[in-house]
Amino acid sequence: MNIIETRDISFSYNTKEILTNVSFSLKQGEFLGIIGPNGAGKSTILRLICGILRPKHGTITVSGHDTRGIERKQLAKKIAFVSQETHFVLNFTVEEIVMMGRFPYLRAFQRENKTDYEARDHALAYADLQDFRKRPINSLSSGERQRVVLARALAQEPAILILDEPTSHLDLHHQFAIMELLKKLNKEGMSIIAVNHDLNLASLYCERLILMHQGKVFEQGSPKDLITEKILKQVYQTEVKVIRHPQKDVPHILLNPKGE
């Protein structure tokens, strides 16, 4: 069953066409990766799905309902968006920030109830943040902050998690921790779409990939089908060597520095 379906969506800023006739779907419980060069329109797709932007043409349906007919707060109960924003103007504590994930469930002046506290604590535990809960956010490292942002999304109790480059700017340890966390969530039934610049990570963790190029879907399929020397040359204009990962049956990319 398709939990998200986009049909022929187009989007432009003023006269600049960003996306042209993009159609793809996300199956229930799938881990989908969106890859592609800078400016290919990857982040715009995520924003359209989350209802932050509206498509100029085409439709996006979530569980069969057109998103245009869904109130934004209602959509936020279904889809949680993890943006690249990990800069905090105000120094809230970790648990206060995670509690903000309950916003779609709360009316003005309504106090958080037992369900909200449980969802918050569950999200904190899931992201392994219990020891940090009372800490001010600006005292945390960027890897820890990324986990806080993810926990805030989990507190929304969504069916679908959408992530915009969740591992960029993180060291190896934190990249691995975040991807493993996503894998675990996915195993437990969460449908996930993640934009990832790191093709090796995408290859290792995503079941299916969508390769974007110049605002269009260039190709979609399994990492094995997509991550080939020929396709990467066409889209990234870069000569690479693709080998098989020694432990997993997925492609792995090696760069060839020039002049050797």
């Binding site: 924003r47 989350c50 209802g51 932050i52 109130e71 934004r72 707060k73 209602q74 959509l75 936020a76 889809i79 949680a80 968006f81 943006s83 690249q84 924003e85 800069h87 905090f88 103007v89 105000l90 120094n91 809230f92 206060e96 920030i97 903000m100 994930g101 916003f103 779609p104 709360l106 003005a108 002046f109 942002v149 805030r152 929304q156």
Partner: protein, 302 residues
């Protein structure tokens, strides 16, 4: 520990001091004058600080204050024009000026489907300069009204509440109270906006709509305030910071605290303005003189 209790006690102390301190002996007439000052002080200080807190939250910019968006200079311009025509300060013209310039700034920043927030600040600052120049022209032309315009520009709580303006002032205060409560309902949205625009939109907040609501409502509130007491500066900039230092970043707590602290601050500043020289100073002079060092001290200590 409830931090509102000591703040509230200081607030009561400020009211008490404003009533008993002054050059003249306390009698029934003087008491009435001072009570009317206290009412206007609480109203103006509270509204300015509350609006400052809201706008700093919305723009995620600690240097934004109610006057950054042009309403105050608009009020000064409107009031000056009124003075040129009628020869006396005209609250109605000040109010129209505030709304007019506010609306103009709003139009400049408006694009299809929303507002450009950076452009809003820039347009506000530019319009403030324009209004100042126009006021200067009026001052040069008017000559003798210079003194009164100065009070409008710097702020003055000594407006005597009498039978002719009582009803209007009460209505304005009640309306402001309602508008403040209306804005207060967005405390959670403001907390979330500080996490980033996309995060806020992803959580279901319609940022464009919220920006429009907050901009227009605060412009209305500032227009009301400036039309009654003039453009009192620095309260809306400094007090929200002090409030956040004491009560933390949650707007649920720091917005009402801003109101109380703003009222307290303005009452104390007004008391100083009344007694420091033989002539009464515009209260805005004192808020700046007292506010700036206090602000630097607080920030250095952090």
């Amino acid at each position: 520990m409830n931090r509102y209790i000591p703040i509230f006690l200081v607030f009561l102390l400020a009211i008490f001091l404003s009533i008993i301190i002054g050059p003249a002996q306390l009698n029934t007439d003087i008491l009435q004058l001072r009570i009317s000052r206290v009412i206007l002080g609480i109203f103006a200080g509270g509204v300015l600080a509350f609006c400052g807190g809201i706008l700093q939250g919305l723009f995620g910019n600690p240097l934004v204050e109610p006057y950054t968006l042009g309403s105050a200079s608009g009020a000064a311009l409107g009031g000056s024009v009124g003075m040129l025509i009628f020869g006396t300060i005209s609250p109605l013209f000040a109010f129209l000026g505030a709304l007019g310039v506010g609306f103009f700034v709003f139009t400049i920043a408006r694009i299809e489907g929303g507002l450009l927030r950076d452009r809003l600040i820039l347009a506000g600052v530019v319009m403030s300069f324009l209004c100042s120049s126009l006021v200067m022209i009026i001052m040069v032309m008017g000559g003798r009204e210079l003194y009164e315009i100065l009070y409008l520009l710097m702020g003055y709580l000594g407006v005597v509440i009498n039978s002719t303006n009582r009803l209007m002032i009460i209505l304005m205060i009640v309306l402001s109270g309602i508008l403040l409560l209306y804005l207060y309902q967005y405390y959670r949205e403001l907390d979330i906006i500080s996490q980033g625009m996309e995060t806020a939109a992803g959580l279901g907040i319609d940022i464009q709509k919220l920006s429009i609501i907050i901009f227009l409502t605060t412009a209305l509130l500032i227009g009301i305030t400036v039309s009654i007491v003039g453009a009192i500066g620095f309260v809306g900039l400094i007090v929200p910071h002090i409030s956040k230092l004491i009560f933390g970043p949650k707007h649920l707590k720091n917005l009402p605290a801003s109101f109380l602290l703003g009222a307290t601050f303005l009452l104390l500043a007004d008391t100083i303005a009344r007694v420091i020289t033989v002539y009464e100073l515009p209260v805005g002079v004192v808020t700046s003189l007292v506010g700036v060092p206090f602000f630097i001290y607080l920030y250095r200590r952090q």
